[in-house]
């Protein structure tokens, strides 16, 4: 392959990596809310995304139709998943998860953390197989004109070399960045966000301030699930949904969050972008099927050699 062709391929992979990475970034931010604030490994995070995907698909094809909102339909549908999943997440937390965290876990054996882990595994299984029962195995995608159109960005170094930017993915990436930024502002600048951080930093002191740590966790969990649903709604425009799609994404999310450093919302976003880049750039040197294996390998390496991630915060005295 000529150098020019390779550069074009590399540029395409780079572009794809960034576009995909932005959405991964949003997914990671959702997980970071739950992981960072509650220190809970949520196995079901990918499955909340799956629920969002199905919901968005259903809304687009059956409810909204393409006439009213035109090309914007899938994105509106994605936005509509937010309140549904927020409520679902909050309810799940109150009914099931809260019983194993915080002060209530005092009665359980030393396996408090393990309990949450295994609990979310159970939820994941129920969601995956429940979807299988209710919705069947055939994959669905929301195909709109946008999914198959692309902008052509010419590469200036040679004639006839260009990078194709898929429009649906580009808009999804843009929306992801916007929402991730909004969430970042929520956490850093709003009173609610600060209370979430305080509850994560020192739950005992937060209680002394009058902050209801249990409620803070519930809100964080609900936000996390809602974000997963939204990201799913954005992804379904170009990635088919089937009941076990969450499994594909769970390692991506965890790799991104760990890479970004636990407890850092902005770090999680950058972590997602890096993972997206790793995934797409790996196609330059590896066969397509090993894409995800590359991510997993990267994940294991990160865990072994730099578990605090790239942006792991150090606020102790120097």
């Amino acid at each position: 392959m000529s150098a020019a062709a390779f550069i074009e391929q590399a540029a395409q992979a780079l572009t794809a990596g960034i576009l995909v990475g932005c959405v991964y970034g949003l997914l990671c931010v959702g997980l970071a809310f739950i992981f960072g604030i509650m220190r809970v490994i949520n196995f079901a995070q990918g499955d909340f995304m799956m629920v969002g995907m199905y919901l968005a698909f259903f809304l687009t094809t059956n409810v909204l139709g393409t006439t009213l909102l035109g090309d914007a339909t899938p994105f509106v549908a994605a936005a509509l998943t937010i309140p549904v999943l927020f409520v679902l997440g909050g309810a799940l937390h109150r009914l099931v998860i809260a019983r194993t965290t915080g002060l209530r876990a005092v009665g359980l054996s030393a396996e408090g953390h393990q309990a949450q882990l295994i609990l979310t595994l159970g939820i994941a299984l129920v969601l995956q197989n429940g979807a299988l029962i209710l919705l069947g195995t055939s994959p669905h995608t929301v195909l709109t004109p946008l999914s198959s159109s692309a902008w052509e960005v010419p590469l200036l170094y040679a004639a006839f070399r260009a990078v194709f930017v898929n429009q649906a993915r580009a808009i999804a990436a843009l929306l992801s960045v916007v929402v991730a930024f909004a969430l970042f502002r929520l956490v850093s600048s709003t009173r609610l966000g600060k209370s979430l951080r305080a509850a994560a930093d020192n739950p005992e002191a937060a209680t002394y301030m009058g902050i209801d740590v249990d409620r803070a966790h519930r809100i964080a969990f609900a936000i996390g699930t809602a974000v997963a649903g939204l990201a799913g709604g954005l992804i379904v425009a170009y990635y088919p949904v089937q009941p076990f799609v969450g499994v594909d994404f769970i390692i991506i999310m965890y790799a991104g969050v760990v890479l970004g450093g636990m407890g850092s919302i902005s770090g999680a976003f950058w972590g997602g972008i890096v993972i997206g880049l790793v995934q797409q750039l790996s196609t330059l040197v590896m066969p397509l099927q090993l894409q995800n294996a590359a991510i997993f390998a990267a994940f294991v390496l990160i865990l072994l050699f730099r578990p605090q991630g790239l942006f792991g915060r150090n606020v102790e005295r120097a």
Binding site: R39, I41, V96, R99, T100, L108, S109, A110, E111, H113, Q114, A115, L117, I118, L119, L121, G122, I123, A124, L125, V126, L127, Q128, N129, G130, A131, L132, I133, G136, T137, P243, V247, I251, Y254, V258, P287, Q289, L290, N292, A293, F296, A297, F299, V300, L303, L304, P307, E316, R317, A318
Partner: protein, 586 residues
């Protein structure tokens, strides 16, 4: 041998297997026979998980890695090289052990959630790898001749017999582990890894042994599974459901128990498979929902598993009493031996920084053999950090530390214990469901090669603290005083020459304090030198030969109690400068 495989257990194993086999003979159709065969196979996977995670507390979500490797090994050896599974399965088992070590060695460096995440990743990587290698579906062809040599039988009940054989072997192994120092060491690691290290348990080595053994058994189960189903795909053997089953079955039945995995398998597998058979066509995935619900319900309602829940319901644990009728303190049999001239422990210029803050600074003192030394000081003075350096939990940033002339710097806690230093911890984490003797036994392993000798040493230690008639009592029912004594016995069981006691009197009433002090006072006569951290001054004043006073990480004063408690600097450190000045008369 009878200890490792108590006759009752052997009998139960045999009885269960025979009963299950009989069930298989009675059942009419092949489908149910297959179902019955799957139960012991999944139970074996559960036993393998239990051996590692159930006992050690390190939850593995990746046991499918071993299972799948076993399945593929047996299949590929048969299909590509014509090797009979009768040999193939043992080969797979060995491979499982190797995989266990290969996975364990790097992954054990990770703590808690990171460990769980890494374990999750391994089978997923393998799935993608095998997919890519073109091994998406490997089927085992039917053998026409010598079918039995290739483990292929017309009668599916033959597989049932083999599966039950494998289950019997794994249960026997599990029982042997549970009753030996292997199991107790793992349990100690689960309770409190740091305390286990300090008691002399080589945590790294035991964890590696556990995962290797676990991998062996899981791989064997996988190999047999392949032979029963006659086809392997990455999803069916490396998939999340497999890892999930490995976790769910023992947790449901009772993690950390011998029969837990069997109970879990016997209840959940038939249920799941029946549901799949009856409703699978229009409710595909119903078995997955069942497993998910089972795990949610277990965590919420019976987190320790059915086995313990049922036992607790039948014989409720008595609430721990706060006070206990005080036993008449034993009269002092021998007077205190004279304090030796030599130096047992020497601390020179010891210091430790944490991120720029000096928790301990330039502390020096020596401890002669036979002394009882008290380390005191106001809150935040650095006492615990000093102790942690003495027993290897924390490495000193500066200075030297010598025990019987040997430097201790850089040694791991279990090595220090091996040299003859024992330690108790403030928070006693006992094996609540085991006897006091078993709790103390863990401490004896480091000094005794055989389990029998260790048991004797444990009994002797219990006698030293006055608990010998409670050796068979269940630890969960003990009072605080008894727990403290048990913790002391555990440290004594390793036969230390120096014993570090970390706030042994916290939370005890006046009479209980007296008793504990009497026990401690007798120890130098048995050849144990004592260093003790405490806040309760009165008790210490009557007990110790000398005080070392720390304040803000530095050595403030040193000397006999009567002298030290009158020193103005000491009074000031405890009660404040103003008070010291105001009441200088002393």
């Amino acid at each position: 041998m009878a200890r490792l495989l108590p006759p009752l257990t052997l009998l139960l194993i045999a009885a269960f297997c025979l009963a299950w086999l009989a069930l298989g003979w009675v059942v009419p159709n092949r489908y149910y026979q297959l179902l019955l065969t799957l139960v012991p196979i999944w139970a074996v996977l559960g036993v393998s998980w239990n051996l590692f995670s159930g006992y050690s507390g390190l939850v593995s979500f990746g046991h499918a890695a071993f299972f799948g490797l076993g399945a593929y090994t047996v299949t590929l050896l048969l299909v590509r090289f014509g090797l009979t599974p009768w040999f193939g399965i043992p080969v797979a088992a060995v491979l499982g052990a190797v995989a266990g070590l290969a996975i364990g060695a790097p992954t054990f460096r990770l703590r808690g959630i990171y460990f769980a995440l890494a374990m999750l990743a391994y089978p997923l990587v393998l799935t993608y790898l095998f997919d890519w290698m073109g091994l998406q579906e490997v089927s085992i062809p039917l053998q026409r001749e010598h079918a039995a040599w290739f483990m292929q039988f017309q009668d599916p009940r033959a597989y049932l017999a083999i599966a039950l054989g494998l289950l019997a072997v794994s249960l026997a192994i599990s029982s042997a582990v549970e009753n030996s120092r292997f199991g107790l060491s793992l349990l100690a690691i689960k309770q409190n890894e740091l305390a286990a290290e300090a008691a002399g348990v080589d945590t790294r080595a035991w964890k590696l042994r556990a995962i290797a053994l676990s991998g062996t058994i899981a791989a064997a189960a996988g190999g047999l599974y392949a032979m029963v189903l006659l086809v392997v795909t990455p999803a069916s053997v490396f998939g999340l459901v497999v890892s999930a089953e490995a976790v769910i079955l023992p947790m449901f039945g009772g993690a950390g128990t011998l029969w837990g995995p069997v109970i879990g398998a016997a209840i959940l597998v038939p249920l799941a498979e029946t549901l799949r058979a009856e409703f699978g066509t229009f409710l595909p995935g119903i078995h997955g929902v069942l497993y998910g619900l089972a795990i949610i319900l277990v965590i919420l309602l019976a987190p320790e598993g059915l086995y313990w829940k049922i036992r607790d319901l039948r014989a409720p644990r008595q609430a721990r009493a706060e006070t206990t009728p005080a036993q008449a303190p034993r009269p002092d049999p021998a007077p205190r031996p004279p304090i030796g001239d030599g130096t047992l422990l020497e601390v020179r210029g010891l210091g430790r920084n944490f991120g720029g803050v000096a928790a301990v600074q330039n502390v020096s003192f020596r401890v002669p053999p036979g002394e009882i030394l008290g380390i005191i000081g106001p809150n935040g003075a650095g006492k615990t950090t000093l102790f942690n350096m003495l027993n290897g939990i924390v490495a000193p940033s500066a200075g030297d530390l010598r025990f019987e002339g040997r430097s201790l710097v850089g040694l791991r806690p279990n090595a220090i214990c091996r040299l003859g230093i024992g330690r108790t911890f403030q928070v006693v984490r006992a094996f609540a469901r085991m006897t006091i003797l078993e709790n103390v036994l863990v401490g004896a392993f480091v000094a005794h090669a055989t389990d029998a000798e260790a048991r004797q040493a444990a009994r002797r230690a219990l006698a030293q603290v006055g608990l010998e008639d409670k050796a068979q009592a269940i630890a969960g029912d003990l009072t605080t005083r008894e727990l403290r004594l048990m913790e002391l016995a555990r440290a004594l069981a390793s036969g230390p020459r120096l014993l570090l006691l970390d706030e042994p009197l916290a939370g005890l009433g006046a009479a209980e304090t007296e008793e504990l002090i009497a026990v401690v006072r007798r120890l130098p006569a048995a050849g144990v030198t004592i260093v003790i951290i405490e806040h309760t001054m009165h008790a210490m004043v009557g007990l110790v030969d000398r005080f070392v006073v720390l304040d803000q990480g530095r050595l403030l004063a040193e000397g006999p109690p009567a002298q030290v408690t009158r020193q103005p600097e000491v009074i000031e450190a405890y009660l404040g400068r103003k008070w010291a000045l105001a009441h200088a008369a002393g």
